[in-house]
C-alpha cells in the first residue's frame, strides 16, 4: 500500500515538481526515490544493484510518466565517448505542462505526503558541498547494504573498508554528509 494510496508514478511526479520540474539523470532519480521510500516508509521494491539500490518499480514509474505524456525525457550528451567510441549520455526528465498540472493536482490530493517530499528536497539542497549522482549513489548503497549497522561516520568508514569497496575518503565524506543531513546516521 502506497502512502495515502499514491502510486509510484505519482510520487515521482511530485518529486519532480518539488525539484523545480527537472531531475538530471536516471541514477539521481533512482537514489532520491530510494531515500524518499525510506522516509515515507513505502516499499518501492529496491534491491541491490551494481550502482547501489535499484527499483524496477521506480524505473517503470518513470517510463509511465513519459508514455502518458507528463514527462519529457531528454538524452543529454556528456561530451565524451566510451571505449567503443560511442557517445556517453545521461537521461534528463522534465515535467511538461500536462505533468505540471498533474503534479499540482496530486499535491492537493496528497497533501501530507507532498509536504514530506518538499521537506526532503529542501534537506537535500542543504547538504554541505552539494549532491551529485555519485555521492547520492554511494549514500544509498551504504544505507541499503549496511542499514541499521551504519550508525556513525566512523563505522561507515570501517564497514566500507572491510567490504573492500574501492572508494576514496572524499567519496565517503560526501555520502556521510548526505546521510547525516537526511537524519539516517548520527554525527560523530
Amino acid at each position: 500500500m502506497r502512502g495515502g494510496n499514491m502510486k509510484t508514478r505519482h510520487i515521482i511526479a511530485v518529486l519532480l515538481a518539488k525539484s523545480g520540474g527537472e531531475i538530471l539523470g536516471k541514477t539521481k532519480m533512482q537514489k532520491e526515490m530510494y531515500f524518499l521510500g525510506e522516509l515515507l516508509q513505502i516499499d518501492l521494491g529496491y534491491r541491490p544493484h551494481f550502482y547501489g539500490p535499484y527499483s524496477d518499480e521506480v524505473e517503470g514509474g518513470m517510463d509511465q510518466l513519459e508514455g502518458i505524456g507528463f514527462v519529457d525525457m531528454r538524452r543529454e550528451s556528456l561530451g565524451r565517448e566510451d571505449q567503443h567510441g560511442f557517445e556517453m549520455h545521461r537521461c534528463d526528465f522534465r515535467l511538461n505542462k500536462h505533468g505540471e498540472e498533474m503534479a499540482s493536482w496530486l499535491e492537493h490530493k496528497h497533501l501530507a505526503e507532498s509536504l514530506k517530499i518538499g521537506e526532503f528536497i529542501e534537506n537535500l539542497s542543504a547538504v554541505p558541498g552539494g549532491i551529485n549522482y555519485i555521492n547520492l549513489s554511494l549514500a544509498a548503497k551504504v544505507h541499503h547494504i549496511l542499514g541499521e549497522k551504519a550508525l556513525t561516520q566512523a563505522e561507515i568508514r570501517k564497514n566500507a573498508k572491510d567490504l573492500g569497496w574501492k572508494i576514496t575518503d572524499e567519496d565517503i565524506d560526501g555520502a556521510v554528509r548526505i546521510l547525516e543531513t537526511l537524519g539516517f546516521i548520527e554525527t560523530d
Binding site: F50, E59, D63, Q64, E66, I68, G69, R74, D82, H84
Partner: protein, 450 residues
C-alpha cells in the same frame, strides 16, 4: 527416447520426463495454442504450449549441463523438470486467459494477486495426483521452490527458467518465428549457449556471458524486439485477443455456467480440476454450439468467420489535447479493474456515434505501449554480467556498443478503439475514420467534465 522437433532437431527425453508428457495434465497443452488466434494473421501459427514446453526443457537441459557441476545431478534434474512444467497452468488461448482472470480478480480475496497462469502452474504442481505419483512430493516441492525463485542460493537455476536470457524465451522466439513464417526471432542459440558461464557475486551465483558472446546476446535482444513489433503486438492479433477477452467477459455477464466456473478463480482442488479440463477448441466448440445464442456467442462467431473488429481510432497520449491531466492519468490505466466503469462509459458513448451505431459491447477501448528495445529489455539483460579476460566483469548494458547507442527516450502509449466497421469502398472507410478522429476526442473531453 528421442522426439523430432522442428526447432531443435532431436530432443532426448529421459524416462521420467517421458512419463510426465504422457500425463493427462501435460497432454492438455497440445490443445492450447502458443499464440492464441494469431493464426488468423499468420496461418502457420498453430503450434501449442506442448511443443514449446518440450523446447524449453531441451534448452534448459543444455544450460544446466553447461552451468551446473556434473556432480549436482539433483539440481540439474530440478531445472529440467521446472522447464518442462513451467507452462502447465496456461488456460485456453494462453495469455488471453490471464487477461480475463486478471480483470475478474476479486480484490477482497487474499489469493487475488496470484491468479495468472504462473500461480495456477504452482497450484497444479502442488495438487495434481498424476504428477505427484510420477515425481514424488519432495521433487514437486523442489520444482515449485525453483519456479517461485525465492531461494537466492538457487539464483543461477532460477535464471535458466526465468530471467532476461532464459530457456523459455530462447525457445519461444525461435519457435514462434518458425511457425509464423518470419525471420525476426532468429538468433544464434548455439553461440549464446557456448558463451554462457557462471558469475559469483557476493554469495550468489548468476548466469553470465563471456565477452565473445556479447554480439549474440545483442542479436537475441533485437530478436525479442522485432518479434514484439511484428508478431506479438501485431494489430490484428491484438484485436483477436481483445475480442476473445470481451466475449468471455460477456459470457460472465450472461452467467454462462462453464465460463463462470473457469474464470472466477477459487483456490480449491475442484476449481483446478475443472480448469485443467479446458483447451482452445473445447471452449470454441462449447460456445459456438451453445443453444443460448447470447452476446458471447456472437463475438466468437465473428472470430470463427474472421469478421474481425477494426481499429477505428488510435491516438498517442502525447497527442491528446484538451483532456484534464487527472483524466489522462486514469485513461492510461483504462484496462485496470479500478477503471472498469470509465471504460464501459466511454465504450457506450462511442457505440452511439452515428458513424458506428453498434452494440456497446462491440466497442473495445484499449491502451497499449510501444517501447524502445533498450527500455524494453534494459531491466533484464543489463543485469547480465559480461566476464572479461584479466579485467573486472561489467554489465551487459555497459558492454554492448549497440545497446549504448540506442535512445531510451522512445516510448509511445496509445489509446485505441476497436469496433466493427462496415463500408462499401476504401473512400467511404477513410471518410468514416476521419470523422471518428474528430468525434472521439470530443467524447474523451466530455468524459473529463463528467
Amino acid at each position: 527416447m528421442e522426439i523430432r522437433d522442428p526447432v531443435h532437431g532431436f530432443i532426448f527425453l529421459p524416462h521420467e520426463e517421458l512419463k510426465i508428457i504422457n500425463t493427462s495434465i501435460f497432454r492438455r497443452l497440445r490443445g492450447i495454442k502458443q499464440l492464441a488466434m494469431a493464426y488468423l494473421v499468420y496461418p502457420g501459427a498453430t503450434h501449442t504450449r506442448f511443443e514449446h514446453s518440450l523446447g524449453t526443457f531441451h534448452v534448459a537441459h543444455r544450460m544446466a549441463n553447461l552451468l551446473l557441476p556434473r556432480e549436482d545431478e539433483h539440481d540439474r534434474r530440478i531445472v529440467r523438470l521446472a522447464a518442462l512444467l513451467h507452462d502447465i497452468g496456461h488456460g485456453p488461448f494462453s495469455h488471453v486467459s490471464d487477461l480475463v482472470l486478471d480483470r475478474f480478480r476479486d480484490s477482497e480475496r487474499p489469493e487475488a494477486d496470484r491468479t495468472g497462469h504462473e500461480a495456477i502452474t504452482l497450484r497444479i504442481l502442488e495438487t495434481n495426483s498424476e504428477l505427484i505419483h510420477v515425481l514424488g512430493r519432495d521433487t514437486i516441492t523442489d520444482v515449485v521452490s525453483l519456479l517461485r525463485g525465492e531461494d537466492t542460493s538457487q539464483s543461477i537455476m532460477h535464471e535458466m527458467i526465468s530471467s532476461g536470457i532464459d530457456a523459455d524465451k530462447m525457445d519461444y522466439l525461435l519457435r514462434d518465428s518458425l511457425f509464423c513464417g518470419v525471420q525476426y526471432g532468429v538468433f544464434d542459440l548455439d553461440r549464446i549457449l557456448n558463451c554462457l558461464t557462471r558469475h559469483e557475486e557476493q554469495h550468489d551465483v548468476h548466469i553470465a556471458i563471456e565477452e565473445g558472446g556479447v554480439d549474440s546476446v545483442e542479436q537475441f535482444v533485437f530478436a525479442k524486439y522485432f518479434m514484439t513489433r511484428q508478431v506479438y503486438a501485431h494489430r490484428v492479433r491484438i484485436i483477436c485477443d481483445q475480442m476473445i477477452a470481451r466475449a468471455v467477459e460477456l459470457g460472465l455477464d450472461e452467467e454462462v455456467d462453464f465460463l463462470c466456473q473457469l474464470y472466477r478463480y477459487r483456490d480449491t482442488d475442484e476449481y483446478l480440476h475443472n480448469y485443467s479440463q479446458w483447451n482452445d477448441n473445447r471452449m470454441i466448440d462449447t460456445i459456438l454450439n451453445n443453444q443460448k445464442r447470447g452476446r458471447c456467442h456472437e463475438i466468437f462467431k465473428r472470430l470463427h468467420e474472421r469478421r474481425l473488429f477494426k481499429v477505428v481510432f488510435s491516438i498517442s497520449f502525447k497527442e491528446l489535447e484538451g483532456i484534464p491531466s487527472p483524466l489522462r492519468d486514469r485513461l492510461s490505466e483504462i484496462l485496470s479493474p479500478e477503471e472498469k466503469d470509465l471504460k464501459r462509459a466511454l465504450e457506450y458513448e462511442i457505440s452511439r456515434l452515428q458513424q458506428l451505431q453498434c452494440a456497446p459491447e462491440h466497442v473495445i477501448v484499449n491502451s497499449r505501449i510501444t517501447e524502445s528495445p533498450k527500455v524494453m529489455f534494459l531491466r533484464s539483460e543489463s543485469e547480465l554480467q559480461v566476464i572479461r579476460k584479466r579485467k573486472p566483469s561489467r554489465s551487459f548494458g555497459d558492454s554492448s556498443p549497440v545497446f549504448a547507442s540506442i535512445s531510451e527516450s522512445f516510448r509511445d502509449q496509445r489509446l485505441d478503439v476497436y469496433a466493427p466497421l462496415e463500408y462499401e469502398s476504401p473512400r467511404e472507410r477513410d471518410d468514416i475514420l476521419s470523422s471518428l478522429d474528430k468525434e472521439i476526442p470530443k467524447l474523451l473531453q466530455d468524459a473529463g467534465r463528467q
